[in-house]
Amino acid sequence: MVVSLPTTAKALLGLSAVLFALAVLSIIDMLLPRPFDGVLLDPDTPGALRVLDVIPGSGAAVAGIVPGDRIAGIGHRMVRDREQASRVLGSYEVGDTVTYFVEDAAGGLRESRLRLGEKRAIKAPYAYACLLGFSFFFIGLYVLLRQPHQRAARIFFVVCNLFLVFLVCRLRPASYSSVDSSILLAGTGALLFLPAAFLHFFLIFPRPLPRLERWIAEHGRTAWRRLLVVVYLLPAAALGARLAKAWHDGESLSLVSGAPLVNWWILAAYMLLGLLVLAINSEGLQDRRQRRGAALVFAGSLFGLVPFLTLAVVTPSFLHSERFLFLGVIPLGLVPLTFAYAIVRFQFLDIRVILHKGLLYTVTTAIVTVSYALAIAFFNSWSRGTALAEWRFFPLLFALAIVLLFEPLRRRIQGPIDGFFFAERSRLQSTMLEMGEQLTAGLDHEEVVRNLVETLPQTLGLHFAALYLVKGGQLERVAGPGYLPAELPLTPELEAFLGRDRRRLTRLDDLDKEAGESPELARLLQRLALDGVELLGDLASPRGRVGIVLLSGKTGQMAVEPTELKLLAGLLSQAAIALETARLLDQRARQAELERELAIASSIQSSLLPASVRMADGWTVAAVCRPARDVGGDFFAQLPGNDDEPGAVIYGDVSGKSVPGALMMMAAHEVLHALAMTHADPAELFDLANRRLYRIGQRSFVALGYLAGASDGPRLRYGLAGQPPPLRRGEDGEVSELPVPVHRLPLGAFHRGTYQVLETRVEPGELILAYSDGVLETQSPDGEFFGEERLRASLAVSLPEPDAAVRSILADLEAFAAGHPAYDDLTLVAIGRRREAE
């Protein structure tokens, strides 16, 4: 709690120690056993020994001495002043009977014998004044120790010390002791400076008055200091002038509690001015909490000071009576009470008081217990002698009533106390909980961002919050002040630090070590610190880092407290999950959209594939194309032929998969289809298609196979551009490879290509199988490829009919893959020759 104290604070503490000692010694002096007659003298007529009040039951009271009397002699000695009276009294012992010579208000003289009492009793009003004075002192001390560097806190401390001296020393009941004069003088001294200190405090708190600041800016701080000197010295100067005038005129100066009325009027003016300044200042406060605290202090000061000023200034001035002065002191208690409450409740003077609930509960229980004890005592005394008390069941009933009522009463009181002291904390907790619930319940990304960047700073009283989300290895600002960097590098040091120990919240200061190791991080942190960032919140979900939140400091001078950090950390966890969930949902939605589009694309693509293909009479063809994904790059097609003759069958394999492959496939399909309509020669077709597809670019190419059965014989023309050579299965089941052309570059790979079209005889019972490389690349769950050997083996045992062969090979492929996802599209085209065609 105690931070290092600046020199000024130390000096003030030293001075206050003296004043505190003075106040304590003053009270101790009053309690020291010494012969005391019970007379309280009027402090403002020291020479006349005029009786202001008489302690009830004291020797003076019994002897008939009343307020207004004048003590003329003690113990057969005339006394002319306190010092003499004190000396005479000092020669007696407690219990001695002494003859007093008393002059009454009418001027009549009489002798009174009175017995000297043991010690001076402190009457309730003075005890109250002392309590008030020490309350001021300890509140001021607490504030200074908590905020020793704050000028307003130091001035507040001075005000509290002056109140202490005024209340304890100036209002001290005066008696004969010469000590009284010194102490009363100290009290008068405090009265001279108290109003100026009061005004000074409110000129700079809760914030320096804007007009004053402008004036200082215009005239300089030296002028301000000079003005302060004048403000502080004016009451003393007024007192001096008044005394000088009275001395010059030979008049007897009328004093009210040690000071002439002019000083009390100055006090009133200063205090009212201070209140006015506070009212003006409070209006312009931005922070709600500060405004509430200032309003409370204003109310307390107003209702505390106005009665005091009325009864201490106005009444003596106009009614020439200071009888009610002490009544004016009573409401002064509102001033320290409201200050204390403002500190506890609204962190006034930027002080946070940690109250332990356990202690408060204990205090509450104690209060209830004491109240009960008093009630019991009262009830007992009231019912004593009555029939109720005589009733034999009365004690039982009484005990039962206590037992039944005690706990409910205690709990009833607990609620208001919790609300009184912990309202702000409870409110904060419930607000954060509510926010957390909103974050987890809502899936709206915008809502989460708004909560983090707008609601959170408002709740905690921060200047700002900024949200950065991870995008491509960087942190991109999504929301927050524009002057913050748009992007932040997610350096490895920062990531490592955040990931370590699952830190949710980090102060920038805590990153010094990491900043030392990384100049980039150091620069970043420096930049952020300059922008007002104090806290770094990690938004990390179980899946990974979502982003970070940058938080500023509070609008007041307080740091974010540990409880708030804890709540914040929890909130950030929830925010991270909420953001992640929102992003995943968004992704899922897009994925679903994509899937739908893929399904559409697949459907479109499927529709491009002919349901069946045919060649000229005498030939049978079967073809199948299985994309590895929804859409693929493989295809087969029937090119347009002449008249009623079917065109050739082409089968292609686009480099690329999924949508890119499918799009390229469709492009190739359309190019070939279109060119085939005007170019029947396959070599020419291949060449033109190559050039066309090369222009499309995208670094894609198409492996193409061309199969055309002659209409007049068992000749099959075939061309290959990148496709593997087809296989022939003879009638005996032997599988061989067809001769391949010399050049068989895929279409679109190069600008120009050379393409050959070869011819082969296909006898009935033979099967020509053309395939894409996806067939060979089919993988088993063990990672083994289907390969050519298996294909040959599968072809060897298949039936000679193309349909059956395709189905058989497909079945073998499926059996081999055993559910393993296909890596590549596969196409099979099987051609056979009908026997009856011969």
Binding site: A72, H76, R77, M78, R80, F101, G107, L109, E111
Partner: protein
Amino acid sequence: MIRKLVLILVPLAALAAWLAVRASAHRPWTTDSPAALAAFEQGLEAEMKLYAADAAKSYFEALDLDPSFVAPRIFLLQVLRPHDERYPQIVAALRAADPDPLTERERFLRAFELARVDQDEAEFMRLLDGFVAQHPDDPFGLRMLCQRESVVGDVLGAEHCYQRLVEVEPNWVQAQNLLGYLAMRQGQFDEAEKRFQIYQFIAPDQANPHDSMAELMTVRGRYEEAHRELDKALELRPDFYSSYDHLLFLALAENDPQLLAATRDRVVEAFSGNERPTTFASCRYALFAATLEVGSDFAKIQECPKDGVLSIALFHTLALRAEGPEAALTLEEHLRERLKATPVRAGVPVDKLTSSDGGLLLHLEGMRHAVSGDLETARDALQAADETFELRELDEGLLLLRNRLVLAEVLESLGDAAAGRRERQRITDINPRFLETEPYLGLPALR
């Protein structure tokens, strides 16, 4: 560390030295013996309360404790009578004392007493004026100044002086007593009563304050209170003759011959073996009894000393009654001679010095003329006497009232009833009961 110590100790030492110097500067009496000082101060207190014997005892005690102590010797000269065998020794020791180490006050008091012993009036006046000018608030200087003012008859001056003295030292009983009498003299009866009350408070075991109060009460016609005060005084000091004397006056004022006789008897009893007070009391009784017409031998009264203005006036009246105007004239002549013989103090009018006798003479003349029928001359004389009389004490107070009553009678006889009523009113303003008690202090019928 050493520097800190030095910084703390040096100012402390300087402060201690300063305080010591101040204390020594304010030391009022030069003695190194606290016991001697205490005894001396006790003596001063006793002297303030007019306990001369007790004061002397304390002063001697102080000298025993510190033979070099000069101040007790000074004050012993004030409380001891000059014929005391120790007196010359004390004077010699005082002369031999070295004045240099003494305080200024002691030097003044020593020089003053020695000048008084040497009867060098001019010197002690000079010393007094010089000291008071420099130390206007010194109680000892003031005391002497006030005494001087009283003696020269400057009432206002004395009053101011004594008032200043009681401000400085309110426990000086003599001052309170004298202020009471001064107030009474000026007709400020309430103030006088206060002063006597204060005196009673300061010296509760003294008879004198009660006696003083009794005088005031008697003049004011508060006879019951006067009785109480005199009873108190005699209770405290059964040998306090003054109170017996005032009791006789009270009996006269109340026209109570029984009390008169009883008082005389009390005096005889109290002072048996002491001729002086019993003679005085007897003479007083004889005169007062004759005044109250209870039978007394005029011849015997003639042999008695005429003490006090009222006594002389009463005797004059008795002489007028018994032997006629010639006897009265003889008395008047005697008084006139006495007036002329009174030494004149420089710068002070004769009538101021002895205004009692001056007034008395006028009163006697007025009485004689009134009895002889020369009312106008009587009126003039009585009026002149009234202007001269002051209520200095009971004796003169009663005479003043008597004078006014005679004047009233004369004025009424002259046909000026209004003036007569005014004079009677002036009597009742002072003493409401005076006119109720016949035969008005033995006044003859004038109408």
